[in-house]
Symmetry: C2
Subunit: 322 residues, 2 copies
Amino acid sequence: MNALVLKAVNEPLFFQSTEEVEPGPGQVVVSLMASALNHRDLFIMQGLYAGIKLPVIPGSDGAGFFGNRRVVIYPALDWGDSPDFQGRDFRVLGMPDNGTFAERILVPESSVFDMPAHLNWEQAAALPLAGLTAWRVLFTRCKLKSGEKVLITGIGGGVALMALQLATAAGATVFVTSGSDEKIDKAVALGATDGENYKADGWDKRLKQKSGGFDVVIDSAGGDGFSLLPGICNPGARIGFYGGTLGKVNGLSLQPVFWKQISLLGSTMGSPREFEEMLLFVAAHGIIPVVDEVFSLKAGNSALEKMNSGNQFGKLVLRNTD
Amino acid sequence: MNALVLKAVNEPLFFQSTEEVEPGPGQVVVSLMASALNHRDLFIMQGLYAGIKLPVIPGSDGAGFFGNRRVVIYPALDWGDSPDFQGRDFRVLGMPDNGTFAERILVPESSVFDMPAHLNWEQAAALPLAGLTAWRVLFTRCKLKSGEKVLITGIGGGVALMALQLATAAGATVFVTSGSDEKIDKAVALGATDGENYKADGWDKRLKQKSGGFDVVIDSAGGDGFSLLPGICNPGARIGFYGGTLGKVNGLSLQPVFWKQISLLGSTMGSPREFEEMLLFVAAHGIIPVVDEVFSLKAGNSALEKMNSGNQFGKLVLRNTD
């Protein structure tokens, strides 16, 4: 079969013929119709993970046929026994296990879930990792309730956009930040109430005034800007985060955090059970993941370059030829 | 009646005759037998709170007679309607409302709770604010379970010691840190398994090795040392904090926090309901608060000086003459 293969870090992927998949006990073959990119793929290509084993087929997100069933794939393996955290054997699909940038993939049968019927292949492939991460941080960790006010920082990435769509569908009022006014406008078109450009000083105070204060904040940037978040939160607020791309947090005052009984909640991808809950919610609310651009599988490196530029709004999808 | 009165910031308290208390609707008089100091009293005297109204009788902790009943007093007023956070009218006893450094105090009848029968007046007066704060952070916020491993940083203060006693009574294994080896030894005598002096580099790694990692950490220091805590936590851990005496947190990496699904949970004093739960637990387990030294009410300034020195281990109590 054809696949995109990572042979060495800091080099492009190779589109090439690879060994055909051979299911072992409990494994099934999914014929992939589309896959989607995540920042994790870039980080692996840049050698930013410990214990990288090569060659590997990257990719965590995929949708395709399992027999006649249209399915999406749980984007990780071996979550483990506790609902509260992943076990020692947990790993994300696409490293060290071969991932979704291929024509076919081997996964445990328990990783295969019916695709929400309102989605096409590209939209379905855009959903798994981003939808699961957004679901866990919003509902499992931050326990978002209808009517609450939510801030999503750095809108434009896959998880942030899914968080916007899930939160508005759950009856929350959502505000966003971005370094791009254009992305804020697009987020408003998708259901956000308003936003602020974090490059302009005072964005936090203006957002607090606009919103009246936040009950839930979703962040993946960290950095020094994180320290501004407790100040714009309401009592009892939850700040959930699943990344820290801007580096360590400095200047965080604990006083507003404890006085307002705020919870700072780390979160990652979730369990297969959360994945199933997310899929049911997406189907019930007719949520359509935002796809920025679709490339052919063969053009995967072009998609990765676009992701590296940071200019996308929504997911970058790879389509397999029929 | 006699009371200790704060007339101006950065001046000692005055022991003097003051106006007799006159109960309004819903209020009752408690004849205080003992009261106890908290850092809050010092901070108020040092002018470190906004909106200080003088003169005032400080003091949040008190035990005494309500009629023939031996009672302890809920150390705050008007928690509010939500169990999750205090409402806008919430205030701690002793500022702006007159507090417990007096012969008598006016409180709402709902603030009066039966004293655990195994305690004497000094021990009972040492319990309310510290016990309530420790209860909320351990059980309401961090949801401590039997068998879990707990780290309590900066052992020696009232809340930290109550947290040690409550956690061991709940079946947890407790480790401590302190800047004083003597305080660590005393904590071990009280039920801690072991400890490390945080003045010695590598305390965090040694504690992780000794404990195998922590499920719950209780901190009130903040500062840069806070950033070391996620690294010694187990997956699913909760880090609860009710203070930040060492200032802002710098150098906090979010990666171990989100990857291990750690929760950083701000907490303060709790609700009257939590106060009642704490009292029942203290009675059921025969917990006796640690009293460092007892002074007469008249000698309150000496007690405050000792608190300012930071050398105490346990609560500083003021005893009213019979």
